[in-house]
Amino acid sequence: MKKNLLLRWAGTLLILFALSPVFAQNKTISGTIKDNQDGTSIAGASVLVKGTTIGGKTDGNGNFSISAPQSAETLVVSFIGYTNQEIAIAGRSTISVAMAPSNTALKEIQVVAIGYGTARKRDLVSSVATITAKDFNKGLITAPDQLLQGKVAGLEITQNSAAPGSASTIVIRGNGSLRSGDAPLYVIDGVPLDGRSATPGLNISGGGYGSAAEVNPLLYINPNDIAQIDVLKDASATAIYGSRGANGVIVITTKRAASGTGTHLEFGTNFSSNVGYMKKYKVFDAAGYRSALNTYGIANQKNPLDDGGSSDALKSITQNTLSQDYHLALTGGNEDGRFRASFLGSQNKGFIRNTSLAKFIGTFGGQYKFLDKKLSIDFNLIAGHVTNNYALIGNRAGAAGDLISYALNWNPTSNIYAKDGSYNLLSHSIPNPVAVTDAFHDQSNVENYLGNISAAYKILPNLEYKFLYSINHSTGLRNTSVDGFLPLQGTLNVGLAAIGTAILTSATYQNTLNYKAKITTGLNLDVVGGYEYYKTNYSSTNITSNGFGTNLTQQNRTPILYTSIFQSAANISALNSFADPSVEIQSYFARANFNYLDKYYVVATVRDDGSSKFGSNNKYGIFPSVGVKWVLKNENILKDNTTVSELALRASWGITGSQSFPAGVSQAQFALNAGGGGQQIDIPNPNLKWEKTTQYNLGVDFGFLSNRISGKIDLYNKNTTDLLFANVPIVPSPNVIRYTNAPVNLINKGIELSMGGAVIQTPDLNWEVDINVAYNKNILKNYPDALIPTGGIDGQGVSGTFAQAIANNQPADVYYLKQFQGYDATGHQIIASQPSFQGDPNPHVIAGLSTTLTYKKFSLSVNGSGQFGYLIYNNTSNTITNISNIANGKNVSSYILGTPESITDGAVGSSRYLESGNYFKLRNATITYTIGNIGNYLKNLRVFASGTNLFVLTKFRGFDPEVNIDKSNGSGYPSRNIEYTPYPTPRMLNFGFTAGF
């Protein structure tokens, strides 16, 4: 090695000697070097004449000035973390270079948000996954969680429904809860969010239509504004969030302007269109249905089942309308301050007719420095308006059905329209699904304001005090109007209108003190301590009415919605109003980071968390953690090894908590009912406390060949005890859940690998591949009580049937079903008389793959992900498209034709409907062409075209194996991976451009 270097030096000297006469005619070249992503100047970059050692480095402002031989034609600009660039200098004296970060190396210098502070990525002791804007998922993104899907090892993101703007189920490192509605804590620019949405719920759930899918609470965050998302996974990272950290923490950092870079305008647009089902649920078409009627000998009934027409209801309820999205951002600043303003306007048409999501979001934020830069003020304001139009698609529709069940069941020999062009309203008791998309109007409008301001003052050069105040206020209005001509249960001939409102307000107040010190040579200390106060309030109202005089027939339809003439209804219900108990959290926290010679790191955190939710006997809880890291690479033995560019071992331990149970249950509550009654509505438990998760984590960070290949492996063991548990009451008592801290162990063990590298790395051609794989095993131990049935099956003929259970020595929500044992001689199912354990609904392996191929100005990025080792319960197949429905003139699953099943067989919940959920989905493929600058004004123009949900590989028979219909049974027990008449997933094409001015 040394020899080599000597030779090089010798060679250089020789050349210098040979060329020495030329030195007399040098020329001066100056310029600036910046990051091409955010425009920040790069200090210390090296600028050399190609093939020589002549040159220099940039100063603190990214400026350089070098003296080069007249003959020099090319400069080579390099800096760690960026791709080398060669610049032609013939005839130029000033140049400006925008450097592109190199993907593999970028990770090294990244700053990671770790809660109440940041850390350089290489100083990170905890298990944190960081995804920056350039790695975000592409395509039509409506909420920030979609940016991450499939990108982070051990982060399972399941979009509950393909309806635009619907919520996701997010699980970090396995199912750590036995309650429904648990989600990670979201922190945006240091502000922890409530996690709820002010979108009022659908108010016609009583009619057998089931509750509507939840709406994503992060819709008002403009995905284009996000610079980086950090997923805190192990306890040494999350314990700083104490009693809210147990389900993991997702920290979102929004974009900031770079200081001193002048004013920039960035503009982009995205058009997209649905292009049919990603995967269509297979029911009979008209010809197949006719032949099935013959097969089953029911073609000649008195009430004919063949209506003589032809229709494709599943297709008729969809739309391929163009969606549009425009976003622009304005940034600017000087030495003392900078600002960024952005705007997003999007109109996203859903795949189902008349569903849509429209968003208008404006943000304004800035950082200004005063008092010789000792005081800095940082503020950010988001104002968002979201309009959502929904379809009649319910989570738990019973015999009354919902739009998807109507479309699946609609007789394919029945025409959608009568000869006169009106709807053929009812066929074999199934309402016309297209008419339902047309005359079911359900719209929510939500306004959201999130404002935060912080002031940081450097008391001493190494001591900083920071104060932050944030308020998040959100109001929602939902108007539902169901025309009376629709043959729906409870609304036919009378119509129905419902109006609901909701208000959600939360405020955060933080004080932190940060102290950085060099204790002795090589030993650095970074301490942060603080106080946080958080409060949240939620209230809602709703009112319903029926008995309208208009729109009772198709002929007398008017475009006026019932919600606009509410007072004309014959029956108007009383107004219901409800305000949740307030939740207040008060916390003290501290974190100390020790770094010795960049070799040995120790981080310790502690948080003392008090919550008004907890019982009077247990208001406060202490959550400690400690993590250590040993950077082997910086030991002498590896220091100069060129193969191993990074190697570090990490270990951590910590305790985090969860307090996600309804506020108020620690004390006795009494409610007043309509009609004059009133009663105790809870079982008070003054001993209630936080749920405790103890987590161990062992990790290795590695990188080879200048981090051309790098990645990390993490092993973890999470043990959740004092589980906040929805226990059955000890009767006599109010008929509600008895919340207790169950002394059980819910254990998640797993291993995660994420790895990335450049397969090809040449100036013109780059190919990078990133993969992540995680294995998790979930088991409930020491649960002493009777098995609790969860995951209720819905539809006609199966009431009282549950698919899942909470049981000892089984994974959470394990399938507990009667076993299907084939068919008897008459074609009837043989079903075991008693249920038994039938497998796991929790995926054991989740994996993601992204790859980017860049050739000159073209780049192709593809990403896909999958889940493996779990079962899905196909409730749709069980109760909507089961064989017996064909005898009633309804459409059924076409696969049934190949089974020996008789058409008089019953609809029984059993293991028959468990299907392997294994899938791999090509989520997105995007081709980008960087045109670059056009003229003097248009800069960095890029155009792209992409396809989303291009295909899915799965044996699952439903629309989409990635679905999680909420089947929690009303008692707070969750369900997992039960599929039931979901909003179907479309395949989408997008195209658009981004440009700067």
Partner: protein, 545 residues
């Protein structure tokens, strides 16, 4: 640790110096009240009111206490009709008596409903009630305890104000019976003498006492009930005081007791009040007719409205004639009018349906014969598949249907059909008093057969049925023998949730009947939900489960 203390001290300084003072984290409830706020602001009457409302849930829906007391007997069954009514096999399990600990969700839901009633009634006592309020609350609790003892052979009991996290006390057998008797006896003087039938009156307490005394022997030993003479005399004395009160007379038309205007019935002693078209506190009495009617029962007026489930069998139908045979078309014949099939104003003229037992061809209000969904005549067929799984072409029409409560058609037909009907749910009715007295007379040490027969025939005469000539309690070899007191109770009180109790008391519950073979003794008690036992180990699972 020292470091931590130091940091915390620093943090406290922040907290104090900040805009917000440190909070004590006291919870504000906002929409609900703390116990002290509630006691001060609203008083006891609202709690008592809520306890009354609790009565609706177990006693209204056919999938409530009804399912446990009737579907397990020879009066009711629900065959599985291809894709409909499998419902985890629970309806077949109930009728065939093969229920197990957790497979029938009705058992859990009624256990819960009855205990909610028990709790809400008990909670009244913790809020300084007047003696009258306390008596009403204790009546409601006694009703719950009686029903639980009947279904499960045990009940959990709490005093007012107990810690709900601690196990409750459990009563079984003799002490369980005695507690109900002593409760009812001690509250009797404080209850209103005469009142609206929706309120616990002395008469209602007397009926509950009569039921407790009459079933005392069966509650203590279901295998071989004995009937203490003292208990029988109590039944007779209490019954006589009601019969001589002059407050109760038989209605001219039997079905007026269940009509949308049945709040006027002179037979009702205790009932749950519903108001037509009113949602608040409506117990959903539409579920008395939804579950039994066919999809097309209402014809074009309300397509696909019925649920086509709950049925009864030919043996029960035939027991209305003392010869044990009825025809299938008896309109306006001399056979017992309680079986229905007569024109009933407000129902037949609106929908074509004739309340009572629906068998054979059904018609709409214009006399047009209705069809089922396949296009076959909508003609209810008494013959049901042997295994209760219908697979034939007639699977929609098997089973005789029972329309005891005449649907409320006032106002908008369709809206009310799907909405809120005004029929009151009958819980105690005068004829039961009369029949209990008759039974007690027969069961007395000095049996008064003549007195019993006279009472029964006076009832039959009021109903328009021919008199009986003899009155054995039951026929041990034929549960459907029409010439028995057991059959007369069935003809009068069918689908009123007393049949299972009767069959156990008459020693007939294990005998075979239509679509049920002879069954094991342990089915005379329902299994407790295993989750309830896990929560309170004082509850003991009944033998055999």
């Amino acid at each position: 640790m020292k470091k931590y203390t130091y940091l915390k001290a620093t943090a406290v300084v922040f907290c104090v110096s900040g805009i917000f003072a440190c909070t004590k984290l006291d919870q504000k409830l906002n929409s609900s009240f703390t116990a002290s706020q509630y006691a001060g602001a609203l008083g006891t009457s609202t709690l008592l009111h809520a306890a009354y409302v609790d009565v609706g849930a177990p006693y209204t829906d056919l999938a409530g206490v009804f399912a446990l007391e009737e579907v397990t007997t020879d009066e009711a069954l629900i065959p599985t009709r291809a894709g409909d009514w499998d419902d985890n096999g629970k309806w077949r399990a109930l009728h065939q008596q093969t229920y197990t600990a957790d497979a029938v969700d009705v058992i859990l839901s009624q256990f819960t409903n009855l205990n909610t009633l028990s709790f809400d009634a008990t909670n009244v006592l913790a809020f300084n009630p007047t003696p009258g309020q306390a008596a009403e609350a204790r009546f409601l609790r006694a009703l719950s305890l009686y029903q639980q003892l009947d279904l499960f052979g045990q009940y959990a009991y709490r005093s007012a104000g107990e810690d709900l996290l601690k196990p409750s006390k459990v009563y079984t057998g003799e002490p369980a019976v005695q507690l109900i008797i002593s409760e009812l006896t001690s509250i009797l003087p404080n209850l209103p003498m005469v009142n609206t039938v929706s309120i616990a009156s002395q008469d209602a307490a007397k009926v509950l006492l009569m039921k407790t005394y009459l079933n005392h022997g069966a509650f203590v030993n279901r295998m071989s009930p004995t009937f203490a003479d003292a208990d029988m005399q109590q039944v007779i004395t209490l019954g006589n005081s009601l019969m001589t009160s002059g407050r109760y007379t038989y209605m001219k038309n039997y079905f007026d007791n269940f009509s949308p205007t049945n709040s006027n019935s002179t037979e009702n002693i205790f009932a749950y009040p519903n108001t037509s078209g009113t949602k608040a506190e409506n117990s959903g009495v539409t579920n008395r007719w939804y579950p039994t009617l066919h999809y097309n029962s209402f014809g074009a007026k309300a397509p696909a409205s019925g649920w086509n489930g709950f049925s009864t069998v030919a043996d029960f139908y035939n027991s209305f004639s003392l010869t044990g045979k009825t025809t299938m078309s008896i309109a306006d014949s001399t056979v017992d009018p309680r079986m229905g099939e007569r024109f009933y104003k407000g129902v037949t003229d609106v929908s074509g349906m004739k309340p009572g037992l629906l068998v054979g061809q059904q018609y709409d209000q214009n006399g047009v014969a209705l069809l089922d969904r396949k296009g076959n005549p909508l003609a209810f067929d008494p013959n049901i598949a042997a295994n209760l799984k219908e697979t034939g072409n007639n699977l929609e029409v098997t089973g005789i249907r029972v329309l005891k409560y005449g649907p409320d058609f006032s106002g908008l037909d369709h809206a009310n059909y799907n909405g809120f009907a005004g029929n009151w749910v009958v819980i105690f009715r005068y004829p039961d008093v009369v029949l209990m007295v008759a039974e007690a007379k027969i069961r007395s040490t000095a049996a008064d057969m003549g007195g019993a027969l006279m009472l029964v025939n006076s009832l039959r005469s009021a109903r328009g049925a021919s008199p009986m000539t003899m009155l054995p309690l039951s026929n041990p070899s034929n549960v459907s023998d029409p010439n028995t007191l057991l059959a007369e109770r069935s003809r009068e009180l069918y689908w009123e949730s007393v049949r299972r109790t009767d069959l156990i008391r008459f020693g007939m519950f294990m005998t075979p009947w239509a679509y049920k073979p002879a069954s094991d003794a342990h089915y005379m008690l329902f299994p407790l939900p295993s989750s309830a036992i896990a929560a309170n180990p004082a509850l003991k699972q009944n033998p055999g489960y």
